[in-house]
């Protein structure tokens, strides 16, 4: 029983990481109908930049963990803006339906190579900002960092939701997702909104990176499978629903930890991905989605 509970807790923490990255996919999809397939690499870069800031590997530490978070998010935002600027804007301008897929993947590979050159190919250890000694909840071991992951993920998504609903700039983002031409007529610079959504999406991923890094190994390859699985989550949950991202993330996270323990770690990803295939077959728009992938 304790073991089951413990697996559930780990699954929830992992699932919320998937949810935040999936949420990032949704942000750019909403404004531009495009996705950043380098979302996992944005996460990886965030984690590694964070590591350089808080550890000794590059002559630091320069900042403590908490002060590092905003710096990493600014870095993520700039990185996302660069992706939009180089990879996506030209494709949107040329009305190329698939150009952005190629270019965001190409940029992802480049970012991974750059990271391998700066931080090496081996996995590094990210110092935990809080005590790694687990405490007990109903007899199950829980790490404080896992709790922080869940809180951080929820806080991030709520903050974006609040921004979209309450501020006039957030409303401009929602208007652009509704109808970009009409948004332009309102005086909204929709090109800027798309750049902003890429910046926000990568900042979110970078944030997820520093949240997850203390719980896993940190290195140039850490983002690829996270990004891919979060993509599965975004599809399962629906590309238009924040709630879908959370539910999809939890389904995949929990099914992964349970399968990893009760069946075999070798198969831990299978149930979630089978679910993805089922969702795609039965409800292509996702569990909570309104529309399937629309054209650019």
């Amino acid at each position: 029983m304790e073991i089951l509970l413990q697996l559930l807790f780990s699954g929830i923490a992992l699932g919320m990481i998937y949810a935040v990255i999936a949420f990032g996919y949704q942000l750019t999809f909403a404004t531009s109908g495009t996705l950043n397939f380098g979302q996992g690499e944005a996460l990886m870069l965030g984690a590694l930049v964070g590591l350089s800031l808080v550890s000794t590997i590059h002559g630091g530490p320069y900042l403590n963990f908490w002060l590092m978070i905003p710096v990493v998010m600014v870095f993520g935002a700039l990185q996302g803006a660069v992706v939009e600027w180089i990879g996506v804007r030209p494709a949107i301008k040329a009305k190329s339906e698939f150009g952005w897929i190629m270019s965001t993947i190409a940029l992802a590979i480049i970012f991974k190579n750059v990271a391998e050159n700066i931080w090496g190919k081996d996995d590094l250890t990210f110092p935990s900002p809080v005590s790694a000694t687990p405490f007990h909840v109903f007899g199950a071991n829980v790490q404080l960092m896992q709790v922080l992951v869940v809180i951080g993920a929820i806080a991030m998504m709520l903050a974006v939701e609040l921004f979209n609903r309450k501020s006039i700039y957030g409303k401009a983002v929602v208007a652009t997702s509704n109808d970009p031409d009409a948004a332009g007529l309102m005086g909204i610079n929709t090109g800027m909104v798309i750049t902003f959504s890429y910046a926000l999406s990568s900042a979110t991923a970078a944030f997820a990176g520093v949240l997850v890094a203390p719980l896993t190994l940190t290195g140039a390859t850490m983002g690829t499978s996270l990004g891919l699985k979060a993509f599965a989550v975004a599809i399962i949950g629906g590309l238009t629903s924040g709630m879908g991202a959370v539910v999809g993330g939890l389904i995949l996270g929990i099914s992964e930890t349970l399968t990893g323990f009760y069946v075999s770690t070798g198969y831990k990803e299978v149930p979630g991905l089978v679910l993805l295939l089922l969702v795609l077959a039965i409800k292509p728009a996702g569990l909570f989605g309104k529309a399937a992938i629309k054209k650019v």
Binding site: I168, Y169, K171, A172, V174, A175, N178, D179, D181, A182, A183, G184, L185, M186, G187, I188, N189, T190, G191
Partner: protein, 238 residues
């Protein structure tokens, strides 16, 4: 106020407007009439930046706005209530109206009193008043049309382009739309109006232009056009 000269516009390689010139003086209502496909909507799109004109010039209050992005033209003071309403369907009536004032709320146009203008818009468009928190997508067609017009008014613009505000509305609502246009005119709002109800449009307008196949065929004071036999035969039902 708005001055268009020798405007050419195209979709892809197909030229649709072949050199349009028209004037919308300050405080006046000018109507553009013409049959389906004549290029009325295209003219409005080329003015407001939804499409880029091929050549020609568009001047707004002495400022050259030709070929600017639509958000710049909006910030320069031109509001466009587009064909097909295009309200933000997942957002509330209030939010739609606030977005109409986006350039004012973000410092690219004089702010004035946005909240007071919101209340004024509610007086002018009473149907919106009791639906302030309703999502725009759940409004009836007529209500959406009122919202699209009110949203344009919220910019406090120098000129408003209205593209078929009565499209698809029941007769009683068409009357209401024209009542509102008249009301706006009395407040001194400058408007360029495209309407399928040419007779009604010429009644409220000061000046009219008749567009045929992307060219201005006839133009003149509205009362003159109302009595023009050719215009009567073609657009006013004999």
């Amino acid at each position: 106020m708005l001055s268009i000269s020798n405007l050419h516009a195209a979709y892809g390689k197909v030229e649709v407007l072949h050199g349009i010139s028209l004037e919308v003086p300050k405080g006046k209502v000018v109507t553009l009439i013409g049959s389906n496909g004549a290029g009325k909507t295209t003219t409005m799109r080329a003015i407001s930046g939804m499409i880029k004109p091929v050549s020609g010039t568009v001047m707004l209050g002495g400022k050259d706005i030709t070929g600017l992005d639509s958000h710049r033209i909006s910030r320069a003071g031109l509001a466009h209530s587009p064909e097909g309403r295009r309200v933000f369907s997942t957002m509330s009536v209030n939010d739609n109206l606030m977005l109409g004032a986006f350039p004012r709320l973000t410092g690219s146009r004089p702010k004035g009193d946005v909240n007071a203008d919101l209340e004024k818009a509610m007086e002018l468009f009473p149907r919106l008043k009791e639906r302030r928190t309703q999502l725009a997508g759940t409004l009836s067609g007529g209500e959406q049309q009122m919202l699209a017009m009110a949203r344009a008014v919220m910019l406090n613009p120098d000129v408003i382009l209205l593209d078929e505000p009565s499209m698809g509305l029941a007769p009683i609502l068409v009357d209401e739309v024209f009542r509102i246009i008249r009301n706006l005119k009395e407040r001194g709002v400058t408007m360029l109006l495209v309407e399928q109800f040419a007779a009604a449009a010429l009644n409220v307008a000061d000046h009219g232009y008749v567009l045929e196949n992307g060219r201005i065929a006839v133009s003149g004071p509205a009362e003159k056009l109302r009595d023009d036999p050719a215009v009567k035969a073609a657009y006013l039902g004999g």
